[in-house]
Symmetry: C3
Subunit: 456 residues, 3 copies
């Protein structure tokens, strides 16, 4: 049974650059936080693309060491002069209000108000992004330029928010494949109008999901999670512990539209197949790229790679969070992310998944010396010249290392040839009866999973 | 029983540079191919040096995935003007005829003839070397300058060749040693008048064989193979499968007289003893050298290192094939290889074999603290000065690492001292009763081999 | 049971720089050799600092391959002109007499005398240091400048020494800890008025011993050895073989007051805990430092790391012996070693011992996802800014890797954070009930030791 050929073909989606950016534009105005209607609205938009289930987990639910917090919603927020002029206006930018601010409506002296105002003096035209999930307070974020204009002795202050028992909301899409083993794709959906940090990951994940959905066959099952950062992944992990043993590979997606080359951060395991697949793809990628060691901070890979979970989940981004000045400011807007970079990131994800889908192991049916490639039309009949033979070289690598112990990714790594070339060579050799697959992969996956579950 | 001292002494053959070049000169005019009388004539010349058996394997014999081809012989070949003037003449250079050209004798229009002519436009005075073993055709190789002079509308063409059932011919020399385990030395003998590519390997292998033959004792048995490339090694492997388990180390020899430093290409195993011995020798060699990873193309190491064979066989050369412009052209002639470089390569082979022969393991008979070297005449009696003590340092390394787990090569590698110094120190310490050999080596070899054969 | 907090606190000894240099000054005038009263006098001085036992081993005692030599003492030595003027005078510098010179008292012609004189022509104002332990002879060491002034035809020569059956003397201090497993600290005490080479190690070891003695609790037991080089460590090892299995870590101390950065030479094992602890401390040390591979020459680590002993004993120094011109000359005097560098070396030793004492293993009590650090006061409540979080990062590393398999040193290495920070983070997390120690360490030590002894 051949699963390789049936995998979703890359590049079937020629308009994806524009689509990725359009989806971001649609989601940009929504005021998201770790709970609330902004998250629901975001997930409803994604449901137009993907068969997404929206889950609601009640406030107060214990999730490992954490508790699902109260739900926060904000309708309006402003600071007005005493004659009624809005000098800070939530409707202008949802970054103006500190996320999870408690309701407030009163007059405040400038000196007191200033204690609740956040600015970025080094970037006087940018609004910072601030949250206060676990300390009850309120605040506004404004440009340093705006702060200088606030000179009245007193202002009217209003944050029309609610912080009440409700739910934490997240989205989940499960796409069964031939194997019960899963690839996890996860992105965070808890930031308001910030593009690179959250919307880029959401867009790429949504369109990857659409691409996977469209595949006639999938070797692996796929699970896409659109979750609020930290508390969302913790909630999913705590309430789905029976599913963890099926997760074989995973990627956290974030920061995929900003500047700089692709960056892959390894899983805590460090040499998991997804780590090797991503490193291989990035090594052969056009443009700069970087492979980094695991560190226990960052996005939700922190949770997926906590010591008791320890999944093979890495993180793909471009310039990582905190390493560009626009991070967590109003400058991370729709102009900061480009369709071209979004597509580039999307294609890299496809390529990594493509390696995972097709990383099978062959054995040569002619292991004693080389088989005669010439009479099978795989070799230059007229030898002797010092001419380039790059295609033949890949054929020879695949034949030489197909001893039942080296997977195609192993061969690609040792030969320094791109995975695609190695896979094409293997298919050509298989077609001519020179190789056979050692494992279908699927049967092993099922057996491994049953054994794991039997033990636990 | 001491085997180390009885190994053939290096440098007993002071005239070897001249002898190596003379042997090449003798063999240069012969028109070799993968079969035929040129191979036989070549092997007969080597029989003057070595006790070589000449083997004949009939056309049609199945050897793994291959079949021994028909035998090709050529007596004459030319292109003449219609008034009888030879404008291309096989008797001038045997490179002029494409190897394995089928017989032809007729008149041909210039336009048709040109489809059968091969040149090197970038080197207009060189004749290329071409073969067509497995596609029935004919052709001539000429200089680009000559091609420009062919302006007549028609020519007489003749290739007086035969392509008929016959034999594949190769030479084999087996030199029994104290151990039944073998060192394999292999070179290809299938190229016509090409010096670096084939004659240099043949000459070095032949004189190494003579040196080994002259030894009063050998730890290992040696098998020298003079075989046509690819089909020859495949034929030997297919018809000698019972001998493979005895081959412990091996070297393919080729390209040993051309420019550049020594290059060792590791076996597929990568860290076999022969790989480590060659890397060690080259690291301490005067002049440039390079160690390369295994790749599944090149000379007959492709076959020895195919996945089902997987012998510890590396390849020693100078600048490898295809990396110098003279490769597979008439410029690879007697002036392209020098006696000095041939001797340098020959000496490196001797040194590698010397390491393999003498890589034994000792254990200290005074493992608790250092033994007192001073009263045994091995140490400066008058201490205290900061003077150089390089000889003592090697003694201390050998004593420190002779715990029964480190062979002399292990010690040479860790101490970064040349193998010769390490071995001299070990002999001095053994003589004074401070070390004893853990294994004779030989008994272990025999036992291992019997176990292997019992299993298969 | 917590042992970590009770370890001796670093930096309690603020005057240590001056104390280290003062101890050296006290010991400087004494004429030490591998035996004799100079050694006894030295050990008596150290007894004022440490509870040191002085051991006497009789001449002729067999110690492995060696024999305890006769005891050497010297009262006076000189060369006089015939009119009674001392031109070489032992009372001026004890380097003037070759150590272990046999007694001599007679007139000698200048030509004969010169055969017994040693100088350093390249440093004409320095006296060399020479010994002749195992060859019976006599000699004087003088400056090259002095040699030029010796022009009389004859001189009176006197070495008033004794070379008789007696004892080899060494000092030993054992400080029991909670664990029977030991840390060995060893220095050599056999050089006369040489500061960096022997007195610096003696001073640092003595004051480290005082510091360890003052600790209210020690995880490990400590054994400090003040031994003559080579024969002293061999004597201790030969007469204490039952104690070797308890030695878990060790350091040879020497050359700790001279120029250059700290240098750690690994044990023969190469990756022992002491090797990793020293490499870690030096990597984070201010100033240059260097980690070197084991070589089987140097100080007494040669014996501790001989193949049959093979203890985890490295060597800490500054610029190693033989790499500075003052080595083994009168220029290695009290001005060559500085209090600052002595203290720097002493602090590095403390830090290495501190790592060994506190390298315990924890497991997270919340291994499933991160615990919520915020509500435990360990985390910024107000998130969102891209501000530095280096303390939080260490907390996250400790939580992430505390899976019962990584010790604090493992975590420090992987996170590239200083051990102190890692340990502080672990203590904070333990205090808040987020971590628990997997092993007390001690119980395991006892069990391991009993098993080892049961086997031997």
């Amino acid at each position: 049974m051949s699963v390789v050929e049936s995998a979703p073909s890359l590049r079937a989606d020629a308009n994806v650059a524009a689509e990725l950016h359009r989806l971001m534009s649609d989601l940009y105005p929504i005021c998201r936080s770790i709970t609330g209607n902004g998250v629901r609205e975001t997930l409803h938009r994604i449901q137009q693309i993907l068969p997404l289930s929206i889950r609601e987990v009640p406030t107060g639910t214990r999730v490992f060491d954490w508790t699902v917090p109260r739900e926060w919603n904000v309708r309006d927020a402003w600071v007005k002069t005493l004659d009624g002029q809005r000098v800070i206006d939530f409707l202008e930018s949802n970054l103006h209000v500190v996320s999870y601010s408690i309701p407030v409506r009163r007059r405040a002296a400038l000196s007191e108000l200033k204690g609740h105002l956040h600015t970025l003096p080094e970037h006087p035209t940018w609004i910072p992004y601030k949250t206060s999930y676990y300390a009850e307070t309120w605040g506004f974020c404004i440009t340093a330029d705006r702060l200088r204009t606030l000179t009245d002795p007193e202002y009217e202050v209003c944050i029309d928010s609610t912080l009440e028992d409700g739910h934490l909301t997240y989205g989940e899409c499960y796409l069964p494949g031939e194997s019960p083993e899963e690839v996890l794709l996860s992105c965070h959906i808890c930031h308001p109008s910030l593009c690179n940090d959250n919307l880029s990951g959401i867009s790429v994940a949504a369109l990857l999901g659409r691409w996977l959905t469209s595949a006639s066959r999938r070797r692996f099952s796929y699970r896409l999670l659109f979750v609020p950062g930290t508390i969302g992944s913790i909630t999913w992990l705590a309430t789905n512990q029976d599913k963890l043993s099926a997760i074989r590979h995973g990627l956290v997606l974030s920061g995929l539209g900003g500047p700089g080359g692709l960056v892959y951060k390894r899983s805590r395991q460090g040499v998991a197949t997804v780590d090797r697949a991503a490193a291989h793809v990035l090594k052969h990628w056009s443009g700069d790229s970087d492979i980094r060691e695991f560190v226990p901070y960052g996005y939700d890979e922190r949770q997926y790679c906590s010591p008791g979970i320890n999944l093979a989940v890495g993180c793909l981004s471009r310039t990582p969070y905190g390493e560009y000045p626009e991070y967590h400011t109003s400058a991370d807007d729709l102009s900061f992310v480009t369709p071209e970079r979004l597509e580039d990131s999307y294609r890299a994800c496809q390529s990594i998944l493509d390696v995972l889908e097709h990383d099978v192991t062959y054995e040569s049916l002619n292991p004693m010396c080389e088989p005669q490639l010439g009479r099978r039309g795989l070799y230059n009949a007229m030898g002797g010249a010092a001419e380039s033979r790059s295609r033949e070289i890949v054929l020879l690598w695949v034949l030489n290392l197909s001893d039942g112990c080296h997977s195609l990714l192993d061969i690609a790594e040792r030969s320094r040839q791109p995975f695609d070339s190695v896979r094409s060579a293997a298919l050509a050799l298989e077609q001519r009866g020179l190789l056979r697959r050692v494992h279908s992969g699927i049967a092993d996956d099922i057996e491994r999973l049953e054994r794991t579950r039997g033990n636990s």
